[in-house]
Symmetry: C2
Subunit: 402 residues, 2 copies
């Protein structure tokens, strides 16, 4: 008998039929003799609906009250799932974040889990109950309700798995696992049997949107075996673990990210310190800068371009406009008409020429590269948004189908 | 400076406009220099919608999970009201039942408040914040979320007022106060300046539906001055307190209750013990029996009739059918085509002839009386449902307009 943590996202519990589908998966696992802890997100669009309700009242409401508002969403979904499990005849109890022992920081709307004290969960498991836990939420040291920010339910699941030394943490989603590329885009994309934490991390960061990256970081830190699998198709998914041994591939996958924007500051003085000051202003706002490109200085001036998440553009502009003026830079240009295409793979570390192969695929498809960034296990390029899908197909063909 | 508890029901916060209306009432009170604790119910039909969602999944869900489900409703309304108060520029914090210190029994869906430990509320008031508290909910000794049952938010408000020795507890509703009769029914009905706890209790029990009767009992026990007033019209309401001195009226009001059913057991053996056993079966189900009428025994048999809340009819039938058969009674008849009309007034205690005056009004209107019950300060009659409105008008005329 082992302890299994299962996480289901909002679309998996969007309506009564879906809730019962989840209840069946959970009770089947329990019937096999396992202890089961289930982490659930709010149903379908509930979180967005609640946010809209709050916006109508006060777009500048405090983050504390915003957390209070949206945390109601998971409360509804855990109760409904518990009711469905009761209907199937199994013992069950639902727990809110504070009841389940999720102690977090006080950074409302994007709190970090400080620790999970799973006393109550353990007591309920000892009573042979299935435990349904509200994902995405916790409680601060001031006894205030907090939320972990978008995608936080994955993190909730991994945190419980870590705190309770679970044998497996299954993340159920609407795809059957991690693919070499988006299967809706690339017909020949294939499901990976396994993938390493690092590769998964790069894919998560790069917009594969299968797993929240904070959850993968935590799984890596505590060495929790993750399985990404479908809540609708009963089939083995993709295992995420320390070392991927099963497959010896050059790269694991091709990812596309269209939620990205390019910011260019034209005519920055070509002297030390200006770039540093600029980026420290951006990071002070907690905005991640990704690819950075700096032109060669000429006439004492240079251009600096970088990418940020598309929804942060206004914030970046607001925090840089004054500075750009003060230093006498010529212009601050923004383009959201871009996409980031990345390849990820631990195999890159020991194989030269991977980047070249990617560039060749893009050249063959006559796609222009605007910016390039590389790490040990990934290569990213920024291209025109309209070329994004063609780029993914071309690169996938080059690496997986030739 | 005084401490004022203000309670707003679901219709008072049904939409964004209403929420801001409440926020204005609350902040006006705060701006006058008072400490303000606000108790709110779930918005409009939220509780019913949540219950329907639960019913769809599992009509026989455990009461614990039903509480978990519906308690989400107040969580949304307190967050929205707090956001509106923030928008108006006032300091505010919202608190759930467990945060506000509502310790209740474990009787899920109809829990009783054991005590309120208002440490957190007091701390927030000390910070000069308006405190918005979720009504209707609390937490059991097992750290489970409980609800107080329908109408429970009134009780929440009075319980806080009692625990904190508040100077006044205002219950905002959609009527302007307590009237001598339902103003929608009787054009000449007039608002009472004040009314005693006992009179209010009888009126609440008798279907005036202005205040939940548990809350009036609690207010009486702890001598909390209540004010019933409108959330839409700014005008003084009706004060409920120990002794009504302002008005020396024979009766305070006429109440109508159509949510009532008459049960008749025909042919009960005319021997001691049968009635007792029958009613103990009903009260074991926690069902309140109201008016009881017993016929004179004849041929060793008698008939027993009594009234129960209309929604308890099925439960009563289920728990009595076997017994009625076993004792050889002839039949168990049910009528929901009845209404209970009552007059209430502390003045009755010292004035004879009040009941007679009521019967005279009904006789003049040619309305037949099925059953009669009296207490020190009330007289109730059971009549045909179709005559109910006519009866109220006739009695009101007799007492208030002649």
């Amino acid at each position: 008998m082992s302890l299994i943590v299962q996480k289901f996202g909002g679309s998996s519990v969007a309506n009564a039929d879906r809730v019962f589908n989840v209840a069946k998966i959970v009770t089947d696992t329990y019937a096999q003799g396992h202890d089961v802890v289930v982490v659930v997100s709010a149903q379908g669009d509930t979180t967005d609906d609640l946010i809209a309700k709050g916006q109508e009242i006060n777009p500048n409401a405090s983050k504390r009250e915003r957390d209070m508002l949206v945390a109601a969403g998971e409360q509804v979904s855990i109760a409904l799932l518990a009711m469905a499990i009761e209907k199937l005849g199994y013992p069950v109890v639902s727990l809110l974040g504070w009841q389940a022992g999720f102690q977090t920081s006080s950074a409302h709307t994007s709190a970090r889990i400080r620790r999970v004290v799973p006393n109550r969960i353990r007591k309920e498991l000892d009573k042979k109950r299935i435990v349904v836990v509200a994902g995405f939420q916790g409680v601060s040291r001031y006894d205030d309700v907090t939320t972990l920010g978008r995608g936080g339910s994955d993190t909730s699941a991994v945190a419980i798995a870590a705190a309770m030394h679970a044998d497996l943490c299954q993340i159920f989603t609407d795809v059957e696992g991690v693919y070499t590329a988006d299967p809706r885009l690339v017909a020949n994309a294939r499901k990976l049997k396994d993938i390493s934490y690092d590769e998964m991390l790069e894919l998560a960061t790069l917009g594969a949107q299968v797993l929240n990256n904070r959850s993968v970081e935590m799984a890596k830190k505590y060495n929790i075996e993750l399985e990404v699998l479908s809540s609708l198709v009963r089939a083995p998914g993709t295992i995420v673990k320390e070392k991927s041994k099963m497959e010896k591939m050059l790269i694991s996958g091709v990812a596309k990210d269209t939620d990205v924007a390019r910011i260019s500051v034209i005519g920055v003085p070509d002297e030390p310190g200006f770039a540093f000051k600029m980026f420290s202003k951006v990071s002070a706002k907690n905005i991640n800068v990704d690819i950075i490109l700096q032109s060669i200085g000429r006439d004492g001036k240079k251009d600096i371009s970088f990418t940020v998440p598309a929804d942060k553009v206004d914030e970046v502009k607001a925090c840089l406009t004054d500075y750009v003026e003060n230093i006498g830079a010529k212009d601050l240009l923004v383009s959201t008409d871009v996409a980031k295409i990345s390849i990820v793979g631990a195999g890159m570390e020991s194989h030269a020429g991977v980047a070249t192969k990617m560039f060749e695929a893009l050249y063959d498809a006559q796609i222009n590269i605007q910016m390039i960034a590389t790490s040990e296990i990934k290569v990213s390029v920024l291209i025109n948004k309209k070329d994004a899908d063609r780029a993914v197909t071309a690169i996938h063909e080059k690496f997986f189908e030739e």
